[in-house]
């Protein structure tokens, strides 16, 4: 089964005072381009970065990142 990792970072940024990718990246030690790649599902962050993202948005990691069936998409 083809699964891919998806996330809600873009929505969460929007809900967190319209935080930009650059602002989020600066807070977790990533470049804006890397945040963009994570949002697009082109790059899977390290566990450390995923936990930092979760802490910033005040949510568990599994609520932000989840597997999605590729066939359904």
């Amino acid at each position: 089964m083809a699964e891919r990792l998806v996330n809600d970072i873009r929505t969460l940024r929007f809900l967190s005072g319209e935080m930009t990718q650059g602002e989020l990246g600066a807070r977790i030690g990533l470049t804006r381009q890397t945040v963009a790649a994570i949002e697009q599902g082109r790059y899977s962050p390290s566990l450390e970065s995923a936990l930092r993202i979760a802490r910033i948005f005040g949510k568990p990691v599994e609520e932000i990142f989840r597997w999605e069936d590729g066939a359904a998409g």
Partner: protein, 153 residues
Amino acid sequence: MNACMDNRESDSAMPLQEKRAWLGLATTTLVYGGFLIETLNTTPGALTLIRFILLFTLAMIVQSVILAIGNSIFAARDPAGFKAPLDERDLLVARRSTTAAYFTLMTVVFLLGLALPHYAAAGWQITLAAIMAMSVADIVRSLAIIINYRRHG
């Protein structure tokens, strides 16, 4: 729709390391490609050691100047990004591309080692082959960086 949800934010601006890879790819291809063509087109016997060293020195200087100018432009356009340390994605891409370049270099050197003795290669030809191997490895490294940022990175 506000800027935060705008797709343009996600898609814009190539990573600095990818820009540098494009610059390195173009520079190595043009400068060392030109150097190899010029050297190989020289009539055998006419290529003295001094001429060979001068051509190689010129190639190194031209490449260094182009890279310095390119990096200065990158730094001027995005000073904060230029000073920022590499993040985990940059390091991952660098590791993958360096691995690809290493195996390319080893393979090319191995093949040259097998081939050159059969051609009774002169000293400068062996040096030229080594320069070619390093240039190929550098091109592979730049290409691997670009591909990794675009596909997987």
